[in-house]
């Protein structure tokens, strides 16, 4: 029985990505939860460089709008990979997957 329980634990641990995302602002977690949503939901954040609106819908998570100067975070579109988090530098905002089901360890860009 103990062996069966341990085996189940291994299988769960080795399972693929859960699709969970984490949003941090200045290193503090402000959201941790599903990276998709059947009903579109918005998370409004006030950062050091202004307001940021994050959208989570059936396709995933993306920055819908930002008051930051370059809006590089908006241009990134939907979050696609654990190794390509959406980052808003002026706001110190990061949107990332918490785990990965990919066969890579990092992305050179």
């Amino acid at each position: 029985m103990l062996t069966a329980a341990a085996t189940a634990l291994i299988l769960q641990y080795r399972a693929g990505s859960s699709g969970e995302i984490e949003i941090t602002l200045g290193g503090e977690t402000i959201y941790k939860g599903p990276g998709t949503s059947a009903e579109t939901k918005y998370i409004d954040i006030e950062g050091a460089a202004g307001a940021v609106r994050v959208r989570i819908d059936v396709e995933g998570a993306a920055v819908e709008s930002s008051d930051c100067p370059n809006r590089e975070c908006v241009k990134m579109g939907y979050l696609k990979s654990k190794y390509l988090p959406i980052v808003c530098l002026p706001n110190r905002l990061v949107i990332r997957y918490t785990d990965a089901d990919e066969d890579v360890d990092a992305v050179s860009k």
Binding site: T3, A6, D103, D105, A106, V107, S108, K109
Partner: protein, 348 residues
């Protein structure tokens, strides 16, 4: 030897418990040699992530953050009291060892690349708006004037002092991440860390191999979207990519201008390259080369590789050809990508 049934049950229970504990260790990887530590940091105008394995991994990552923060305070042109800002303002300044070392590396890179990498190009980077996001197209007169402040002899180092030519100013953005990445890897090694992976805004430094002995798998991002051109398997290497896709602007006439400025004509580089990846042992070289080779263009970049040792290349051209040099061709796995029409191996 007679063993009572109670003792047999006890032994069986102990054996099962031992097996489960072994399985738990397998699952969690609790050996100190594989202890994993992770950190992230905003610094040098980018987002950085660190992963290290080993019993000293936590302390090593704390040291890494301190090194990077300290170097940023010395080198950032956006900090008025950094050594580089004060040098730019005063024209000459005694410098700390770390700053003298990176300036020496930058001077070497300039000579090594025939001037294609040049930290004195800063006044032009500023004029085009890449320092503050106020993008503009300078006219030819302004570009010509600013070009007089760029190039050979604009920076010299005498003893502990750096001296700039009149009107010249420096920006270490093209080499700082590579240089500081080398410093971090050295600190890891000194701490007994033999397996680590750091990403400094997409500049990858891989120390050793993964704890299971397999190579690190580093994807190369497409310049057009978040897909991958391919995946490289490496150990003890830096993988550094330059492209114009991340920092660029579109002028009113529709022209797209990238952030890599040619030290020769003062204009954003526009040639047959859209992505340059350098694979090498040291980040300082890879960082400088990834910019310099972009300035050179595709055919000159290949010629340069053929006559220099110590690095390998993956070049994506605007016609969709992906060139991979022979030293990494066997460890590069291309991915189906609309940006790539064919993959060619380049041999010496």
């Amino acid at each position: 030897m007679n063993i009572s049934s109670t003792a047999k049950h006890t032994l069986k229970g102990a054996g099962a418990l031992a097996m489960c504990l072994a399985l738990i260790i397998l699952i969690t990887g609790c050996s100190s040699a594989d202890k994993k530590a992770e950190e992230s940091l905003f610094a040098m105008d980018t987002y950085m992530t660190f992963t290290a394995y080993g019993k000293n991994a936590d302390d090593a990552l704390k040291d890494a953050k301190e090194i990077i923060t300290s170097c940023e305070n010395l080198w950032s042109v956006t900090k008025a009291d950094s050594e580089i800002s004060r040098l730019n303002a005063a024209g000459e300044l005694p410098l700390s060892k770390d700053t003298r070392d990176i300036l020496a590396a930058a001077l070497y890179a300039r000579e090594y690349t025939g001037g294609c990498f040049d930290i004195s190009v800063y006044p032009l980077v500023e004029a085009w708006g890449f320092t503050n996001g106020n993008y503009r197209v300078p006219d030819e007169t302004e570009i010509s004037e600013l070009l007089k402040r760029v190039g050979e002899g604009k920076l010299s180092i005498e003893g502990d002092k750096a001296i700039l030519a009149r009107g010249s100013r420096l920006d270490l953005g093209g080499i700082a991440k590579g240089f500081v990445g080398d410093m971090v890897i050295k600190r890891f090694k000194d701490s007994g860390i033999s397996s680590a992976l750091i990403s400094l805004g997409g500049n990858i430094h891989a120390l050793g191999s993964k704890p299971d002995g397999s190579k690190w798998k580093i994807a190369i991002q497409s310049p057009y979207d978040q897909s991958y051109l391919g995946v490289l398997s490496v150990s003890d290497k830096c993988v550094i990519t330059s492209g114009i896709y991340e920092r660029n602007f579109t002028a009113p006439d529709g022209t797209l201008y990238g952030h890599i400025i040619s030290p020769f004509d003062g204009r954003p580089v526009s040639n047959d390259l859209c992505s340059v990846t350098v694979v090498c042992d040291e980040g300082r070289l890879g960082d400088a080369l990834s910019t310099a080779l972009f300035v050179m263009g595709g055919s000159k970049a290949v010629e340069f590789w053929k006559v220099h040792e110590g690095f390998e290349l993956i070049l994506l051209c605007t016609d969709g050809t992906l060139y991979v040099t022979q030293g990494v061709y066997g460890s590069f796995e291309p991915r189906n990508n609309t940006a790539v029409t064919n993959v060619c191996e380049i041999k010496r």
